[in-house]
């Protein structure tokens, strides 16, 4: 086996480890569907009746469906830093790193697992959208494209979270930073209102907010069918993912020293 095969094989094993845990107990996965469901069913329904937001000709609930999906994947992914600190605390990380598997495969494997959880979120949100009659484009290629974006996005933020964990090192701090990252990203993005409604300063912030690009990519596939911004969205996401996977792999050993 050459090095790339070893990384791929070990990353799949780490992801398999998580998949097996989910198979034994999937409670967490289902609980994580509650929040996005509330956003769609309550927030979405209430604001749907106002019809004064400039949502580009779409109903408000159509408008926020991609936003809620992106947000729920973000919340799943940002959790991985806490998981890795916990695994360090119980000695599991030390043992994973004592195997000949390359360190980057631990990061990629965890990030892939975040992607799998993200896909599950996607399926649940699509199912809910179908049930409550949200009109989105269920074209197979678009849905596939959304899942690709979901996996990349989950990998990106899971790795960012693991990178932060290697500096912060404790679960409490990671809980804090998780909140401090997700909430501003969410409200400073186009997830639940259009950028044009924001005050000028927030519009600037939003232009550098990765969530904005993710929501934009999802919205183009699920609602508008206008793919012109898609290559940039995906390229930016891919670059950020590679960057964070590498930083987490290099810094991971800080956790066990």
């Amino acid at each position: 086996m050459n090095n790339i095969q070893r990384v791929a094989s070990s990353a799949m094993t780490i992801a398999e480890m998580e998949a097996r845990k989910i198979r034994h107990d999937s409670t967490e996965l289902w609980m994580r569907c509650v929040q996005p469901a509330l956003w769609l069913l309550i927030f979405g329904e209430v604001f749907n009746s106002i019809r004064s937001l400039p949502t580009g000709g779409f109903s408000y609930i159509q408008f926020i469906t991609p936003g809620v999906l992106a947000q729920s994947v973000l919340f799943v992914a940002i959790f991985y830093g806490i998981t890795i600190v916990w695994e360090r605390d119980v000695g599991l990380l030390t043992k994973l790193l004592s195997t000949p598997s390359p360190r980057i495969s631990v990061v990629v494997g965890k990030a892939l697992a975040a992607g799998v959880r993200g896909i599950f979120q996607g399926i649940m949100i699509f199912a809910l959208a179908l049930v409550i009659g949200v009109n989105i484009r269920f074209d197979p290629l678009d849905v596939l494209g959304v899942f690709v974006v979901v996996v990349l996005f989950a990998m990106c933020f899971a790795s960012l979270s693991m990178t932060l964990a290697s500096f912060l090192k404790t679960r409490d701090r990671m809980m804090g930073i998780g909140q401090a990252i997700t909430i501003p990203l969410f409200f400073g993005s186009n997830a639940i209102y259009p950028v044009s409604m924001m005050p000028q300063w927030l519009q600037y912030v939003s232009a550098y907010n990765p969530l904005t690009y993710v929501v934009d990519a999802m919205r183009s596939m699920l609602l508008t069918g206008d793919y012109s911004g898609l290559p940039l969205d995906i390229a930016a996401l891919l670059a950020a993912t590679v960057l964070f996977v590498l930083s987490a792999s290099i810094l991971l050993k800080r956790l066990i020293e």
Binding site: S10, T13, I14, M17, R20, K21, T94, S98, T99, K253
Partner: protein
Amino acid sequence: MTSTQPLTAGTSSEGGAAPLAIEVSGLTKVYSDGTRAVDNISFSVKEGEVFGMLGPNGAGKTTTIKMITTLARLTVGSVRVFGVDVTASPQDVRQMLGFVPQAISVDGDLTGYENLLIFAKLFFVDHEQRKKRIQEALDYFGLADRANDLVKHYSGGMMRRLEIAQALVNRPRLLFLDEPSIGLDPYSRRQVIEQIKELNREFGTTIFVTTHDMSEADELCQRLAIMNLGKLAIMGEPAELKKSVGGDVLTVKLTGPMASELPATLGSVVSADEGTIKILTADGERAIPRITDYFEGSGAVVESVSLNRPTLDDVFMK
């Protein structure tokens, strides 16, 4: 008849000097806050040996293990495992090792079988060999009938055994055990110790164990090093170390006249008060009748004599 496959890949050396499993020279670890956790230590472990490292908490044992197993970077010095430099080729080194960390760290949310499967894969054990090795490890550690239960429902002793089994699916040439019997009840502890001894005896696995339990080290290890404040205080065979403490101690209880001095051939008085006298002597068992005769000859009545051999505790406290 089923052929028994070795659980580890220990190789027997044919004549000549046994190759060194571990060569540590001038090893030093300074943490970023300036703490010298390990301070210029050198030692070697022969292939096929059970080597123990003792020391109080914070002596630097775990840091030393971490550097040998490539988990922590060394600051100064060099470490070779079967001739391979840990800094130059960490992945090759890890491929030869099994590591059982201090805290129980099997994954409670997976079954016993899955814990072994995942680690077999992470050690790149061949697909064809995997199932067989996992089954053998489960059988060897008496876990086969609980293999498909979630590990969080296991007892502490079972988790410890699973943990060692996990390190063995790789057939390591060198096995590290960091405080292997910590937190176990006496029965489970005994089981774990017997299994470690058997691994060494049957398969020639080189074993590096840290502990602060002296009796365990005495029973398990062929050679010991005692570490304190980041330095190696003393190293040798358990019997040798005990001899260095200076012999056996006899405690004699008697009534009647008490001698405060003894002829030098019998030993020397360590302490004497209220009918109890402690005597340090080279060979306690042989000295008992002679010392009894001596006291009775001087008109005292000897009520009891007890013999204390030095334990590693004494070496440790020294």
